[in-house]
Symmetry: C2
DNA sequence: CGCCGACTTGAAGAATTTCAAGGTGTGTGG
DNA sequence: CCACACACCTTGAAATTCTTCAAGTCGGCG
C-alpha cells in the first residue's frame, strides 16, 4: 500500500493511467516534498535530474535574459507534470508560488518506467500537446495584444481556473448575475512577468478596469469580475 | 513496397521508429500532397481532421486576433510533425511558405495507429517536448526583448537552421572567418509576424545591423552574417 | 518602359517603460 | 495599543520605443 492511495490528484495526474500494481511500482522510486513559496525545484540551464507531479499549490516556469529580465513561460497547477524527460537540461526554472506539494522522481527512473508503460506515456503526450496549445495561444497575447487586452485575457483565464464556479463555467452557462470572485495566486510583479509588462503598467490597467466598474479589487490579491462580457470584449 | 522507401525524411520523422512492415501499414492510410506557398493545411478553429509529416519545404503556424492581427506561433521544417492528435480543433492555421510536400493521415487513423505503436508515440512525445521548449524560449523573446534583440536572436536561429555550415555549427567550432550566408524563408512581414513587430520596425532593425556592418543584405531574402559575435551580444 | 509588390525611410503619434515619489496594510516590537 | 518598518502597490511625469501614416525606392516581369 502506497501513499498514492490517498493522493488527491490520482485521477487526473498522468499516473491515472496505471493500475494499482503499477502505481505501487512507480511510487517505490518516488518521494513527496513540500516546497515553500519561492523555493525552486529546477533551475534554468541546470541538468534536468528530476521530474515531478504537482499535488497541491501553484508553480511558475521562468526563463530569464542575462541581464535579469524575467518571463514566466508557464504556470503549473495540481495534477500537472513538471520537468523535462528525455532531455538533459531544463530550459527554465520551476519555482513554487504558494506552498506546494510535489511527487518527485529521478528523471532516469521515470524515463525507464514510462517507456515500459505506454499508457502513462500517452497521458504525458496528451498533457504536453495541451500545454503546447496553451503556450502558443499565450504567444499571440505576448506578440500582438495591448496591455489592456492582455490584462483582460489574463483575468478571464484566472476566473475560469480559480473562481468557485470553477472551470465548469467554460460550458457557456454563466450566471446572469456573474459576480465571479477569486484570489490571484500572483503578485502584481508576477502578473507583469507573465504578460511581458512592467508592474506599473499592470497596476494601471487593473485600476482602469476598476474605475470603469468592470472589476472590483477588495484587497490586493482579491478580484471580483462584475462584467464578464465587457472583459471578453476587451480581451479580443 | 511503399513510397516511404525513398522518403528523404524517413530517418528523422516520427515514422523512423517503425520497422518496414509497420511503415507499410502506416503508409496505407496516408497520402502525399504538395502545397503551394500560401496554401493551408489546417485552419485556426476548424476541426482538426488531419495530421501530417513535412517532407520538404517550410510551413508556418499562425494564430490571429478577431481584428486580424496575426502572430506566427511556430515554424515547421522537414521531418517535423503538424496537426493536433487527441484534440478536436486546431488552435492555429498551418500554411505553406515555400512549395511544401507533406505526408497526410486522417487524425483518427493516425491516433489508432499511434496508440498501437508506442515507439512512434514516444518519438512524437520527444518531438512535442522539444517544440514546447523552443516555444517557451520564444516567449521570453516576445515578452521581454527589444526589437533589436529580437532581430539578432532571429538571425542567429536562422543562421543555425539554414546556413550551409548548418546546425553542426552549434557545436561551438565556428570558422574564424565566419561569413555565414543563407536565404530567409520569410518575407519582412512574416518576420514581423514571428517577432511580434511591424514590418517597418523589422526593416529598420535589419538596416541598422547592415549599416553597423554586422550583416550584409545582398538581396531581399539573402543575409550574410559578418560578425556572429556582435549578433550574439545584441541577442542577449 | 512602366507596373506591381515588397521593401525602405521619414515624421508624427501613441503606448509602454522608466524614474521617482507617495500610499496601504500587515506584522513586530515597544 | 500604537508606532514603525517593510513589502507591495499606486500614481505622476518624463523619456523611450515602437507603431502608424505617408511617401518614396527598388527590382523583377509583362
Amino acid at each position: 500500500m502506497s501513499y498514492c492511495d490517498t493522493c488527491v490528484v490520482r485521477n487526473r495526474a498522468i499516473c491515472s493511467a496505471l493500475d494499482p500494481n503499477e502505481i505501487e511500482a512507480m511510487s517505490a522510486s518516488g518521494r513527496r516534498r513540500v516546497l515553500q513559496p519561492g523555493q525552486s525545484l529546477l533551475w534554468e540551464g541546470d541538468e534536468s535530474a528530476i521530474v515531478a507531479n504537482v499535488i497541491r499549490g501553484i508553480m511558475k516556469l521562468t526563463s530569464s535574459t542575462e541581464d535579469g529580465r524575467e518571463q514566466i513561460v508557464g504556470l503549473v497547477y495540481p495534477a500537472d507534470f513538471v520537468g523535462r524527460p528525455y532531455g538533459s537540461t531544463s530550459l527554465y526554472s520551476v519555482t513554487a508560488l504558494d506552498e506546494t506539494e510535489v511527487c518527485i522522481y529521478g528523471r532516469g527512473d521515470f524515463e525507464q518506467f514510462a517507456q515500459s508503460h505506454p499508457a502513462m506515456e500517452h497521458k504525458l503526450l496528451e498533457r504536453t500537446l495541451s500545454e503546447l496549445d496553451r503556450t502558443r495561444r499565450w504567444m499571440l497575447l505576448l506578440g500582438r495584444k495591448s496591455a489592456n487586452e492582455r490584462i483582460a485575457s489574463f483575468l478571464l483565464e484566472m476566473a475560469d481556473r480559480l473562481s468557485p464556479h470553477g472551470a465548469g463555467l467554460s460550458g457557456g452557462c454563466a450566471p446572469v448575475d456573474d459576480h465571479i470572485a477569486f484570489d490571484l495566486p500572483l503578485s502584481r510583479q508576477q502578473i507583469g512577468d507573465v504578460q511581458g509588462l512592467t508592474i506599473e503598467t499592470v497596476s494601471r490597467q487593473f485600476n482602469r478596469l476598476k474605475s470603469d466598474g468592470i472589476i472590483a479589487l477588495p484587497s490586493r490579491r482579491a478580484v471580483i469580475v462584475n462584467d464578464r462580457e465587457a472583459l471578453m470584449d476587451l480581451a479580443g
